[in-house]
């Protein structure tokens, strides 16, 4: 069922991506490169070989998982800017379970247990913000953002004093890694986990009372109260679940890619995940497409750097432009709706 509003939404998103790329082309031109070559090495080249595609999927997994997590809060009209911290906490959980001696003792079980602990760690970290929001009315935007700094420094502390290996500030390797989906590539079962979780997300949002109530809370807090929903509980749960997904992203990153915990394990995924949720418009299929696109941009950026000399960080410029144009498009279309409504009421 695609409604008129849905079509309009898709139009806005496509337009936003297109305008962002046009604006990006101007920047590339100004820095003296050919935009076509740059975009070719950024968007097409990563898909030309199996090895390169594996690189795209490395980014795809955490982006999708965090995108789902952020979507849970967006549905309740909350924001979770703490993906980075929650992902680090999840990564810590996986690492603690995966490294010797626990990892050795658990053997293959260290993977499911690790994922579970990562989920709990991530959920706990986000739940702090949920608690502050519901108990004291503290802005979840500020709290989640600040918790990122605390998480990074906490991880640094743990790495420095407790997990340091070979004189470097990083943890030992975990014992058991996620198996490869296709031998000879970097594509792991993490992709399957992420895709299954998208399906779970889709079912929860569309088919369960929980999902419906969460959307009601986001749609109108007064209507939610009218409808008998415990709005504070839902605020809290949406934060915690969001954190759980970010925690899983951390676990997938450790067990599918880096094998050990460092300060930078979470990279920029926390914020890129927000772009994924927005660009995917909270829709399950949209999230998959959006995280693939973002993964492409991220992994293509280094190829672009070698081919054209445009620095890798250009992707961040492009991401930011996409977000700006989405927000502008939404504001314009919502503005029209509001004006029409105002006219009707009078």
């Amino acid at each position: 069922m695609i409604t008129k509003k849905g079509l309009q939404r898709i139009g806005i998103l496509l337009l936003a991506v297109l305008t962002a790329m046009l604006a990006g082309a101007v920047i590339i031109l100004l820095s003296g490169a050919n935009p076509l070559t740059a975009y070719y090495s950024m968007l097409v080249k990563p898909m030309t070989s199996l090895g390169n595609i594996g690189g795209v999927f490395i980014h795809f997994i955490p982006l999708l998982l965090i995108g789902i997590g952020v979507s849970f809060t967006f549905h309740a009209k909350l924001n979770n800017l703490g993906g980075q911290g929650q992902m680090l906490m999840g990564a810590l959980g996986m690492t603690l379970i995966g490294i010797p001696p626990i990892g050795e003792a658990l053997g293959a079980f260290s993977l499911p247990v690790g994922f579970l602990v990562a989920m709990i760690f991530g959920a706990f970290w986000a739940a702090i913000a949920g608690f502050m929001k519901t108990r004291f009315g503290a802005s979840e935007i500020v709290v989640t953002l600040m918790l990122n700094y605390i998480a990074v420094q906490a991880i640094n502390y743990i790495l420095f004093y407790h997990l340091r290996t070979d004189g470097e500030i990083r943890s030992p390797r975990i014992v058991k890694m996620l198996p490869k989906l296709f031998e000879g590539t970097r594509i792991t079962w993490g992709v399957v986990i992420a895709l299954v979780l998208v399906v779970v997300y889709a079912i929860v949002m569309a088919k369960t009372k929980f999902g419906f109530n969460l959307r009601t809370v986001g749609g109108s807090i007064k209507a939610a109260k009218y409808s008998g929903i415990n709005t504070k509980l839902y605020y809290f749960l949406s934060m915690a679940i969001s954190g759980a997904f970010c925690g899983i992203a951390g676990a997938a990153q450790i067990s599918g890619n880096t094998r050990r915990l460092t300060e930078s394990t979470a990279g920029d995924y926390g914020f890129s995940g927000i772009v994924v949720a927005m660009l995917g418009s909270l829709h399950p299929v949209g999230l998959v497409i959006a995280s693939f696109l973002m993964a492409l941009l991220t992994s293509g950026s280094s190829m672009m750097q070698t081919d054209t000399g445009i620095p890798e960080s250009f992707t961040q410029v492009l991401q930011a432009l996409i977000v700006l144009f989405i927000l502008m498009g939404m504001a314009i279309s919502d503005g029209k709706v509001k004006r029409r409504k105002g006219g009707k009421e009078k």
Partner: protein
């Protein structure tokens, strides 16, 4: 009328319509210097619309306005202010963090950043305070002042701009009796200085005390000019209610049964501004009856409806249904035990504007239709389609966004959702407000039909005719208390209006 007095404001033949609703129909009035003109009328009589026209917020469809004998078009509030028209709204227009001086800086034409100007404003405010006997701390942030003090800041603001046509929109609604006296003495000082005041109120006693003349509005029409000294209360009330006899044909009235299904005891509650608006309300609802609740806006009806529907906190009191006690402010508890609720706000409370109709069908449901533990969307769509056709909701179908429905159709949808659950009690808050005649009639018919099936209804309404037509009893609220109840057949609209104003019990 004193011919020596100069006319400050004269309006003639003002007409304003919103869609099909005529809010102001050919209204004329005149304000002279040094007098208080009271404007009296029920809710929805068109007072606010008229004042918003004078203050430049709305443009009239027809009619002319003269200020001090010169015809003008008032294009904006800023223009009105420049012409010497000032208005104190019911909801104050003040910045809470700022003190009176800073708030006044905001509207003055000089730069708000200059210290010197602030001092000058402070000095002239002190002068105004002394001249009019206004006692208020101008250095204290406005949010720390009491409501009556904030009102004084508003008045100071107007006097500072030099306004001599002052509109006070229900200024006493927020005041305690002793605070009213202080306001009246300020008003008297203002008229002594030759200013003209338009004083809007529902309260007869005050109007008789403070005003020189009274203009009465009813149903958007001006229906009487009186000189206060010569008028008597009954004459004024008669004018307000008009002389239409409610048409009771077509509604079956049936004796309610003797069983109390729903009751509340000693309900006390705050409104959103933390002012205590309910002060010990007791109510007993018998099976299959319709209780009409009448009251002048702001006397606690909205809060009572919310408390009875379980969505507002109480300070004290208890609510029970069929002998079972309900926990206040736990809407889920109320829903489970068969309390239906039609909220006054259809978009945003009764429905989520962004949801499709079939999604809104699930609001305020204790049980969702499920299949294998999942919401059975097909069943939900099916149910909502049934309701849409049975209740004649005009829409493209269950996939339509709720926000796109007109008020009447949305109300029918909400009504069908609540009535399909066969509630024991239905709380109806202004169910026909803003609806056209046909839709309003449909809503009333459904409520009486539900009554025959045993549903009791508590009907909050500002429409006298509606209250008289379908209720079995009318309970009157005044200042957060029940002041009396009447059977419609044994009373008159005048009597109810007098009770609503606290004149009679």
């Amino acid at each position: 009328m004193d011919n020596k007095k100069k006319s400050l404001l004269k309006i003639e033949g003002i007409t304003k319509t919103f869609g099909k609703v005529v809010a102001n129909d050919d209204i004329s009035l005149e304000l002279y210097e040094g007098e208080v003109l009271a404007l009296l009328g029920e809710n929805g009589a068109g007072k606010s619309t008229l004042m918003n026209i004078i203050y430049g917020i709305y443009r009239p469809d027809a009619g002319r306005i003269e200020i001090r004998g010169k015809e003008t078009k008032i294009a904006s509030p800023r223009y009105a202010l420049n012409k010497g028209i000032g208005m104190v709204h019911q909801h104050f227009m003040l910045v809470g963090r700022c003190n009176a001086i800073e708030n006044i800086c905001l509207i003055s034409k000089t730069s708000p950043f200059s210290l010197v100007n602030q001092k000058r404003i402070a000095a002239s405010l002190e002068e105004i305070k002394a001249r009019y006997g206004i006692d208020v701390d101008i250095h204290c942030p406005v949010e720390q002042l009491s409501i009556s003090m904030q009102q004084k800041v508003e008045i100071l603001k107007l006097l500072y701009t030099g306004a001599d046509i002052l509109i006070l929109d229900e200024p006493t609604a927020v005041l305690l009796p002793q605070e009213c006296e202080a306001l009246f003495s300020i008003i008297r000082n203002m008229t002594k200085e030759g200013k003209g005041v338009i004083f809007i109120s529902h309260k007869l006693d005050e109007i008789i005390e403070i005003s020189d003349r009274v203009d009465v509005l009813a149903h958007g029409k001006m229906c009487g000019h009186l000189i206060t000294k010569e008028a008597d209360k009954n004459a004024i009330v008669k004018m307000m209610s008009g002389d239409n006899v409610p048409d009771m044909s077509g509604y079956v009235k049936q004796k309610p049964q003797d069983e109390v299904v729903f009751s509340c005891r000693g309900i006390e509650a705050y409104d959103d501004r933390k002012a205590k608006t309910l002060d010990g309300v007791d109510l007993e609802v018998y099976k299959g009856e319709i209780i009409g609740i009448a009251g002048v806006e702001g006397n606690g009806q909205n809060e009572l409806a919310e408390v009875l529907a379980g969505v507002r906190k109480v300070i004290a009191g208890s609510i029970s249904i069929k002998g079972k006690s309900l926990r206040p402010n736990r809407p889920a508890d109320f829903i489970k035990n068969g309390v239906g609720y039609i909220p006054a706000e259809r978009n945003g409370v009764g429905t989520v504007p962004d949801f499709m109709l079939y999604e809104n069908w699930l609001l305020r449901k204790a049980h969702f239709p499920t299949k294998n533990g999942m919401i059975d969307t097909k069943q939900v769509v099916h149910q909502s389609i049934g309701a849409i056709s049975e209740y004649d909701v005009r829409t493209t179908g269950p996939l339509e966004r709720s926000a796109n429905l007109s008020g009447g159709n949305l109300q029918k949808f909400i009504l069908s959702r609540e009535l399909k659950k066969k509630p024991e009690v239905l709380i109806c808050s202004y169910p026909t407000r803003g609806l056209d005649v046909k839709a309003a009639c449909f809503v009333r018919n459904q409520i009486t039909k539900a009554k025959q099936e045993g549903t009791s209804t508590i009907l909050f309404s500002g429409d006298m005719e509606e209250l008289f037509t379908i209720s079995d009893r009318i309970v009157v609220l005044n200042r957060g208390k029940v002041v009396g109840e009447r059977v419609p057949e044994q009373t008159t609209q005048e009597e109810i209006i007098l009770m609503m104003m606290g004149e009679k019990a």
